[in-house]
Symmetry: D2
Subunit: 440 residues, 4 copies
């Protein structure tokens, strides 16, 4: 029995556990920067297997943690996590939202450093409790009101843990180092930058990441080279004016809502750029307190995107000018917070070709797409660019799976058969990279 | 001891009860159309005194009940009212929000019909729990979270009940009929129209109403002829579009928030009219659900005003056109609900002169202002106009009182010394009108 | 034959000349600051009669000359005026637009100083050449393309000249001083401020002015006390951005038109003020050069108005903030020029009562309106306020006349029968004021 | 001496004439649909050489002639053309703006049909009369005020005439048919569609067109495969409301400028589309007549663009909805005229490769760029798509040349050395295509 066969057989054996883990994480969904239970479970799993564990400030550059909840919110989430089986000794190291984990397997043998990245956070939203929704029907629907895995990161995390077991099992056949990165707060593109700008990627030769579903809806299909990541910036804006009685003394008010409406319209004019596609969205606007009161406050949630960083930077800079001018127009105070971001990035052709080769060798893979565009944003791009700047290579793989409903929909669910396939592709790629190294 | 003296002495005796009632109503504040406890207490009070009581559809023209809560909300409020001492037998007749009461004292003797109108609803808002806030310090702060008397209608209601006692006490000295109207939902100008367009005013010769505080901040001052009521319309608007992913398929969305922002700006251009002052305010705008989602929904709370009905009607009609066109612009569905309204109106000079005369005869009155403008809206104007159209006369009196904070502020409170003064002015006016009648 | 009769008989004799002068001025219409021919003719007329003539910097405070044409334009207009019979010796003193004249008749006898003010400029516009348009049919249609008397100032000027003859004729019966002020550039409210803030009004006890037509369309009717002058400010705004190719490099442009469109919408939100009516109008907006070019330039003509100076000042200040913020929003240069203005003002009751008395005594007057609102702006208000601040009195009279078409319409014409009536009212008022003085 | 050498030598001999023709056309610049002199000269030239000439309705589908001047304007231009040496017999056939020419050389021998397209119109604009501007210095500056060749179409036309001479000279070495298309009104993308949808392209196997300058600023460089043509639509919009006095009766007006400002802002929100880049530009907005008049009229010049037809169609459709809704919002009449358009298109790789081959064989070609994007719009795309739909092939070539100033600048001029090079590339390509045909 060849090595490959042993590997894939072993992963087949793990399938039940992979699914079990996924369902456990799904049930206790935790959104960005509050993944205390999730991350502590992951940490314990890796720790128990003998991985070197890194947590807290070692793996996060504080300066780049975007869109953090308040201290009070974090505290409440920590309590809940503990009450739901979160493990105290790890959670203590995650205060202030350090809800990521890095596990390192150093073979001691010379060789390349291969990193895998998994995002672990849930989305905001209330999960369907329709009987047609499998997680509800089979009892793993989210018990945390307002948090729900609608993007498959529960799956990503369980793939990562399966992988940790595989690498440990076949450790003697590996060279170099394996780094497993479990990242919080991908939703809102808030978490990756702080990890990318810590030192965890310093020696990484290959960075491999990916996603379940998206454009590919067939179990057994993979996209080997994913590009088309939009560069993006997420902003929260607050306008503060002065209220007054709308009938009796309208001229005494400073109308925050007129400022915000002006900003909204003008912001949406910003998408034209020579170099390609731009995007802007004022996704949320809430302003005013009463019908007969000149609105004192208005709050906006905004995002900009660009086909490349230039375009996104242009739109972001112009957006900030427009927001500030709207505030000046109505004599408002204005606060702009950057609460998320991602870059544009490319998968390396060489590494994609290896994924492709691995795919062709795996029986589970029925269809190979060489290249596709994501058409969205992903903050793993900070990590990809960082590794590439250091001379390494990066790739982003899409693993096809049938979806019960679109990503970010309250009835989202996927075919768990894709989980073991992803684990196989990832694991085989590591071994294939090792093998090529040896030949050289 | 002259009749006048007996009257005022009796009202001085009632002062403690007036204050007690006011504080009870303050503590169990109920906002528009949910005054189940308040109205049932009033009904019982009048019933016990021997007034003829009218409730429900007899005193409301259903068609004009504006800005009603949902059935579920009404139900919840009814339950609460019962749990707080509301009286079941009356509340049962108030289902669907008929939370007003009319009490009639028919002397059986020929004479004029004099109506008094009192509004009884609280505002929305959370009452201050600062120790400097007397209602909190002295234990009558609102126990109903989100409802608070910040406009003195608790006082108006207690004046009305005091008055009922006075008229009963001196019934043998009265001719004609006294009608006491306790109106719900003045806030948002929602309640009066439905009562005005029922038949309760059909035979009214004089309609007398008024307000504590406002422009007059001295106990013992009255404004005898209040005009300058803005005609007003209150609208709730909902835009419904279609959400889509702002990065991946922006063109699939129908952006409800862009429609609302366009409406907001353009609505505010509407205030110019040959005949005088106009007003518009988009007081609240809430739109969108997530930063990266094209906003599907936006909701606005709007009011228009005009120095006269013409102006307000012009602005309302143009506002509706602008709102509809904004919906068309972004292919949105659009719902416009009229949830409140008031008219412009004038106090009759003749009746004001009688108030003035009565004021001059009362020791408690230290200062008389002949005429002033309200500079706001009041839905009693529907009743005033109705009575005047029927050939009767109407007047609106302001009773000065010291305020702890502005109307509609969470620290609002007033000097209760004004309550008995108002009762004296109202009662004396009724007797003065009787007296004049006799002379003729 | 009494004095009054002699006076009115004499004015009846002058009627033909009054009409002739009016038609001459109509034919050679000259708009604001370019009334070189008109003013020189007036100067000669007064000079020939023996009036003391004042011209140029003596009667204008340079600092307040608003909305002047360019030097080149003034030069061209001077040339044209000379070619059309303008009188060189006076025109030379009017360089730079000093196209006003003050004529003084000092009786040498003690007494009050009574000033009359006449505006003399035409409007911009092309006069109708329909055969139904009397000026065309009878040969006095404007020969100056683009200039046309559509507001009756040709009539005002001819009334003023008739008056000069009357006062000269009856000089021996007058005391004190008569000052006749012929003011340029009332259209756009540009000319009065500079005359008001020179020293010509320093010793004026009574200032009398007025207008043909307006709200009163009956020959023989006068409005004795005109109020309701809107305070107003006229602004020219230029936005300068940067052009670029709209297809190839849209992000390189700085879009002056988007700035101007944003300003336009937001400016129109400014009309709400506690103290009363406000107005704003972006009357003209021109922007951009070509369909496929990001617009580099945009120009706006704006006016604000208020029922009083407070309101207008509020709107003007806010307008300037909005304009500047719109420029900042699109990174534009922005120039704001104040090119006209007028104040709110009141006619003095005492003086109005004298007009009323005079009116009752004149056979030509068939109808007297005591009081009316102008509902527009007039820059004579600077002079009225100035005289009143100095302790004098001012009044503004409207002289009814039938109109062929509305003011500012290309078919505007009026019944010239109103001219002699105005002359009679003005002259009689002067003599009445003299008479009252004597009595004291 | 090989055929190629003879060909290129002959073109070298023609260089002086090519330049002379270009300068003549430059001097008598005629903008879109008014090229009466230009087209008549071309017709005569081809006629004299013995080409079959097609004019008028034979070569234009009337329905698709966009952005035509008025009949009066056309008449004035015809007169001018006649006075400047235009040839009557041809001009008579061009009434109503049919200012294009098609010349056909049918060898009588079997073979492919090769069409070349040249645009011949000038731009709007006033040419520089600086001494540094060569056309001015050397006496061929435009004598037609307001028309100027700033895009090199004078050169394109002269290349086309040179080519006609070459093909005639070497007629016996050609097979099949040559069609030379001289197209009016490319500026504003108005002229091509009507020619493309006539029958002139029905049998065309190869369509070859191109442009001087653009991205390539080196004489001797060619771009063999030009793509990146934006699909585009040009619209003229008129809003008509109702004027009224802005001070006295603002509510009577229907404000066309507020409608246009609203449209302008909202139109600029339209550029986001899944499939790629979109563009919109309100390039010109003129509205209103006077500062104190509610604006009755507003006119806009708009263009939309898209990376492909889908995107442009989406933006155009949405733009029309926004424009109509803006009109509804202010109760305006609204007229939308489509005055120009172009499609997206691709050069055929096979044909580009032949251009490339031909380029490599020519001594004058110093640099070959295989592929580039235009980044603008060109209405030849209608012809390219038409030929490709019929099974033929199309290519668009850019001929590098040094520019004195950017395209569309009043100092635009180019190095005329590029003219003969373009003629050589075009001619050689025809012969190369013939040659390949023979081999088959």
């Amino acid at each position: 029995m060849g090595d490959n066969l042993k590997l894939t057989n072993y992963i087949d054996e793990l399938e039940n556990e992979i699914i079990e883990i996924r369902r456990d994480l799904h049930k206790y969904a935790e959104s960005g920067w509050t993944e205390f239970r999730t991350a502590s479970k992951i940490a314990k799993y890796l720790d128990d297997l003998g991985y070197e564990i890194k947590l807290g400030e070692d793996i996060f550059n504080k300066e780049y943690m975007m869109g953090l909840p308040t201290k009070e919110e974090l505290k409440a989430h920590r309590s809940r996590a503990l009450s739901q089986g979160g493990i105290k000794e790890y959670i203590e190291k995650m205060e202030d939202g350090y809800t990521g984990v890095v596990g390192i397997l150093d073979t001691g043998r010379q060789g390349k450093t291969i990193a895998f990245r998994f995002d672990i956070d849930s989305n905001d939203g209330v999960e369907s409790n329709s009987l047609e929704h499998r997680p509800f029907k089979e009892g793993f629907v989210s018990v945390n009101k307002g948090a729900m895995h609608t993007c498959g990161h529960d799956g990503h995390a369980s793939i990562g843990l399966a992988l940790s077991k595989v690498f440990k099992k076949f450790e003697e056949k590996l060279n170099g180092k394996i780094i497993l990165i479990f990242q919080p707060a991908e939703e809102g593109t808030r978490g990756a930058k702080a990890m990318a700008y810590s030192h965890i990627l310093d020696d990484v030769d290959y960075l491999i990441s990916g996603h379940l579903g998206f454009s590919s809806n067939t179990v057994g299909e993979i996209v080997c080279n994913t590009g088309g990541f939009f560069s993006t910036t997420k902003m929260d804006v607050t306008f503060k004016g002065r209220s007054s009685h709308a009938g009796a003394s309208p001229e005494k008010g400073k109308n925050a809502l007129l400022g915000a409406a002006t900003a909204t319209l003008n912001l949406h004019t910003l998408c034209q750029h020579k170099e390609g596609i731009g995007r802007i969205n004022v996704g949320v606007l809430n302003g005013g307190t009463g019908r007969n009161v000149i609105p004192e406050l208005a709050e906006m949630k905004i995002e900009t995107r660009g086909e490349n960083n230039n375009i996104n930077n242009y739109i972001t800079e112009r957006a900030i000018e427009i927001i500030k001018a709207s505030a000046i127009m109505y004599d408002l105070e204005c606060e702009i917070k950057i609460v998320g971001g991602a870059e544009s990035a490319n998968s390396d052709t060489e590494l994609s070709k290896i994924i492709e080769k691995v795919g062709r060798d795996l029986d589970d893979i029925k269809s190979i797409v060489e290249q596709a565009k994501l058409g969205g944003s992903e903050d793993v791009t900070y990590m990809m660019n960082k590794v590439q700047q250091n001379g390494g290579k990066a790739v982003y793989v899409i693993f096809g799976t049938t979806l019960a409903a679109d990503h970010h929909n309250s009835s989202f669910d996927f075919d768990e058969g894709a989980l073991k396939i992803a684990a196989k592709v990832y694991a085989s790629t590591a071994f294939e990279l090792n093998r090529r190294e040896e030949k050289v």
